[in-house]
Structure formats: structure tokens, C-alpha cells
């Protein structure tokens, strides 16, 4: 298991760069990941998606379905891709510190 050091913090990550533990998440993680995910500047819209994903995960123990993410944030899927070029799974969930999406992906 690889560890990443960034701005004085240490993160344990898997081979796809997802956090191993949700509790390890900190704002520095977002700064670290945004580079790999093709995001230049974090905006309020980015933050809103990340906040919602984390809230939903804490409350329900799963990541929301794409339709729920869209409906609650008010962002169409197209806009979510504009914010997170790798998409809601690989981009937004990774930044929010959620577990790696599973199934036939």
C-alpha cells in the first residue's frame, strides 16, 4: 500500500489513488488530488459536490446514485463532468475521500 506525503500530511492510498480510509480525509487531500484529476482551481461548485458526497456517505454508508447527486446539487451530469473531468466516480468521489467504486465499472 502506497503512502503519499503532501503539505505535512500523510495519506494511505491504493494503486488507483483512492484514499484507504475516509477518516484520513482532510482539505489538503483535495489540493493533492486536484492536480491528477485535471482541475486547476477549486470553486464553490466543486466544494458543493464534495460536501454533498461526504454528507451522503456519512449518513447512508454509500455513495449517492448519479441521479441523486444531480438532483440535490442541481448540477446536470454534463456540468459535473465539466467540474470533474474524470466524472463523478473517479473524480469527485476520489476527492471526497469515498471508497473506490466497485462492480462492473
Amino acid at each position: 500500500m502506497a503512502t503519499v506525503e503532501f503539505q505535512g500530511k500523510t495519506f494511505e492510498v491504493d494503486e488507483d489513488g483512492f484514499l484507504q480510509k475516509f477518516e484520513d480525509w482532510s482539505p489538503e487531500w483535495v489540493e493533492y488530488v486536484k492536480e491528477q484529476e485535471g482541475i486547476k482551481e477549486m470553486t464553490d461548485e466543486h466544494q458543493k459536490v464534495i460536501d454533498f458526497l461526504q454528507d451522503y456517505y456519512r449518513k447512508n454508508g454509500i455513495a449517492p446514485m448519479v441521479r441523486i447527486l444531480s438532483k440535490v446539487t442541481g448540477y446536470k451530469l454534463k456540468h459535473i463532468y465539466e467540474l470533474f473531468p474524470s466524472g463523478p466516480g473517479k473524480g469527485a468521489c476520489k476527492m471526497a475521500g469515498l471508497p473506490k467504486p466497485t462492480g462492473c465499472v
Binding site: 475516509f22 485535471g38 447512508n60 454509500i62 455513495a63 471508497p99 466497485t102 462492473c104
Partner: protein
């Protein structure tokens, strides 16, 4: 090798990005004779095993030579296919829906040299690179999956069993002596990617042991409700346990309810269940997708378990040979395996194939299981 850029700029990932262009249009690649006679074909003939002729309204003919392929192939082999296409077919070639390769020429005198060329090519180990066959009432290529080559949920291998089954049925590939075409499929787990549920004979990888639970990491790498909802028999429930003095969230599995489908492992990497001795194959028969005479059918399990015996899977191959031989002997012309088994009755099917009927073959999954039992006195001793 040192890094060589394709021109992609990782600092500006969206710059110059081309997306949503879809596949190339198929008409870009049609051989001239196909392009010219598109939608104007009159009839076709199978001239010999592996060679077809299509006649167009204009009087044009196109001859197709179908060859077997391992599906999993190197760029080297694809290049060799391209060389053959360049030499004989004006650079045109196509792949079938069963991953055979078809070379097309526009006159009969070109077929002989093409065939000789194809059959003369062998790998260093002696296998034919491009065996001709797979038409008519034969055994064409086996539709198969990833297996131990690339997947993380398999209970058996795909390429390995397919090679040994095709070795055994090579004569059936090269000839057209069966009552009807016989489609085989291999899937390495119950996900059944491909055509196992609707093939004349299907091999499916199965587990026989419940998953192990990695309590240490489960909570961190899994979305627990997804693992719970993944179970078709509701054997999984959320629970808490002590791990190294700490209370962790995890799941509990009722082993007597688990039927080892592996769905929960697909959703949650902390529930692995592959096992060298436990895993093996089930054999299913009698499926079809065409509407010819009878409706499409699902294949049905007739052998609950054969062990994995790499690299040649002898018991698996022997069982499939038994089924093929009994079918060849017993079925009427045009009867698919499922048509034959339903006509003679499944009790007779087990008789003539010599397969053992065990309790595992009796459906016990939810209400619909009832409809698979016999609610009649019509049966043969």
C-alpha cells in the same frame, strides 16, 4: 522504454481533446463487391465447411472463408491476418460475432490459393493459426471471457478450457456432421459475461465456499449497504466486531444461506472467495437464441461440478464429449441440443449421456423453482 509523448499535455488535459466521435462507419471498410451489392443478395450456399458463397442480383459472387481464432490474440497475429488480407482480399477482412475471422474474395479461383495459404500457417507448437471451418451444422468458436488472464472474480479460467474443448471438438469445427449448429460458451464466473445462459453447451465457473471476511479493511474499502444488497439470498447483514481492540463496522454472512455466487465480492473487495479446491465448473446445456421452430431457450444445469484441472481440464472435456456424442447419435436433423433434450425428456437425456443426476440440479431459487418441478404423471422409467 523511456517516455514518449503522444502530444497529450497533462498540464492542460482538456486542451485539444477529441471526444464522442464514436466508431468508424462500417461502410468505410467494405470490400468493393460487398459495397456494390449491399442489400441486393439473392441467396447463399455453403460450398464446403468454412467456405460460403453469396450470389447477388447483379450476378456477382462473393466467397467467404471463415477461420477459427483464439480471440485473445497478439498484434503480431493481427498483422499476419492483415498480411493475408492484403495478399488475397484487397486488404479487407472481418470478424464474426463469435470471434471467427472471415476473408472474402470475389471469384472462385481465388478461394483455393487463400485456403492453401491459411492452412499452411502454424504456430511453432504445431497448432493451426487459421483453421478453416465453423459454418453450418458445426461447432464454431466458443464465446468466452477473461478468466485468470485479466479478471478478479473468476472461478475458473477461460482461454485454457476453451483451447482444450476446441482441441477435442476440432473435427466438429472442420466438418458439418451435427444435426444442427452447436454453440458453446465459457464464462469464468456466474456473472456469465457472454452467452452461457443461451448456448447449446455452456461451461460456467462456480465457487463452493463462502467468502472470507477481511474485518480489518472492510469498513474502509466497502460501501456496506451495497454488499448487503448484492446478496440474492440475503445471507449478508451489517454487523460490528472487535478487531485488535477496536470496534469496527463489518458484515456477517450466514453460511447456510450462502450459495457462493460471489456477487458481494464484486461490490466489496474485502470479501474474497476464490479457492483452489473449492472452485470448478458447472456444465449447462440446451439453450438457444434463434426463433427457428422453437422459441429461444435458457440453458439448464446438467453437471453441478467438475473440478478445475489445469492445464487440460480432462474431466470437463470428457463430459462435453459425452454430451456431444449422445446428441449426434440421438437428435433428428435441425434439432438443437435443447430441442432434442425436450423431445426425448430430460430423464432420457441423463440416460443417454450417462450423466449423473444429483440434488444440485433441482431448482430451489424462490417461487419460480416450483415451475421447474414435474407436475404431471408423464415420464419414462
Amino acid at each position: 522504454m523511456a517516455f514518449v509523448s503522444s502530444g497529450y499535455n497533462p498540464d492542460k488535459p482538456m486542451e485539444g481533446r477529441i471526444s464522442d466521435i464514436g466508431p468508424r462507419h462500417y461502410t468505410d471498410f467494405l470490400p468493393p463487391v460487398i459495397q456494390k451489392n449491399y442489400g441486393k443478395w439473392l441467396y447463399h450456399e455453403i460450398i464446403e465447411p468454412g467456405v460460403l458463397m453469396h450470389k447477388a442480383e447483379s450476378g456477382d459472387e462473393v466467397y467467404t472463408v471463415r477461420v477459427g481464432s483464439a480471440r485473445l490474440v497478439s498484434v503480431g497475429l493481427i498483422r499476419e491476418i492483415c498480411d493475408i488480407a492484403d495478399k488475397h482480399c484487397g486488404g479487407h477482412v472481418r470478424w464474426t460475432t463469435r470471434n471467427n475471422v472471415e476473408f472474402m474474395v470475389d471469384s472462385k479461383d481465388k478461394v483455393g490459393p487463400l485456403k492453401d495459404d491459411l492452412m499452411s500457417r502454424k504456430f511453432a507448437g504445431g497448432s493451426y493459426k487459421f483453421p478453416i471451418g465453423g459454418t453450418g451444422a458445426s461447432v464454431p468458436n466458443i464465446v468466452h471471457t477473461q478468466g485468470w488472464v485479466h479478471c478478479h472474480t473468476p472461478a475458473t479460467d477461460a482461454s485454457g478450457p476453451v483451447k482444450v474443448i476446441m482441441d477435442e471438438l476440432f473435427k466438429e469445427f472442420q466438418s458439418m456432421e451435427l444435426p444442427a449448429p452447436m454453440r458453446l460458451a465459457v464464462a469464468c464466473c456466474l456473472n456469465m459475461c457472454g452467452a452461457c445462459h443461451c448456448s447449446d453447451i455452456a461451461v460456467v465457473g462456480i465457487h463452493r465456499k463462502p467468502p472470507l471476511i477481511d474485518h480489518e479493511v472492510l469498513e474502509n474499502i466497502c460501501e456496506i449497504p451495497l454488499a448487503v444488497a448484492a446478496c440474492p439470498t440475503a445471507a449478508i447483514r451489517p454487523s460490528k466486531t472487535e478487531f485488535e481492540g477496536k470496534e469496527v463496522k463489518t458484515v456477517a454472512i450466514k453460511e447456510e444461506r450462502c450459495m457462493f455466487c460471489g456477487n458481494c465480492y464484486t461490490m466489496c473487495a474485502a470479501l474474497p472467495l476464490a479457492d483452489a479446491e473449492g472452485d470448478g465448473c458447472a456444465i449447462m446445456v440446451g439453450g438457444k437464441v434463434s426463433n427457428r421452430i422453437s422459441n429461444p431457450k435458457f440453458s439448464k444445469v446438467v453437471v453441478a461440478y467438475v473440478p478445475n484441472e489445469p492445464p487440460r481440464w480432462p474431466s470437463l472435456v470428457k463430459t462435453i464429449r459425452q454430451i456431444v456424442d449422445a446428441y449426434k447419435k440421438g437428435a433428428n436433423k435441425y434439432e438443437r441440443v435443447g430441442d432434442w433434450a425436450e423431445r426425448i425428456g430430460w430423464e432420457r437425456f441423463f440416460d443417454v449421456t450417462g450423466l449423473e443426476f444429483s440434488k444440485h440440479l433441482i431448482d430451489d431459487f424462490r417461487d419460480p423453482a416450483y415451475y421447474t418441478w414435474r407436475q404431471t404423471t408423464n415420464f419414462k422409467w
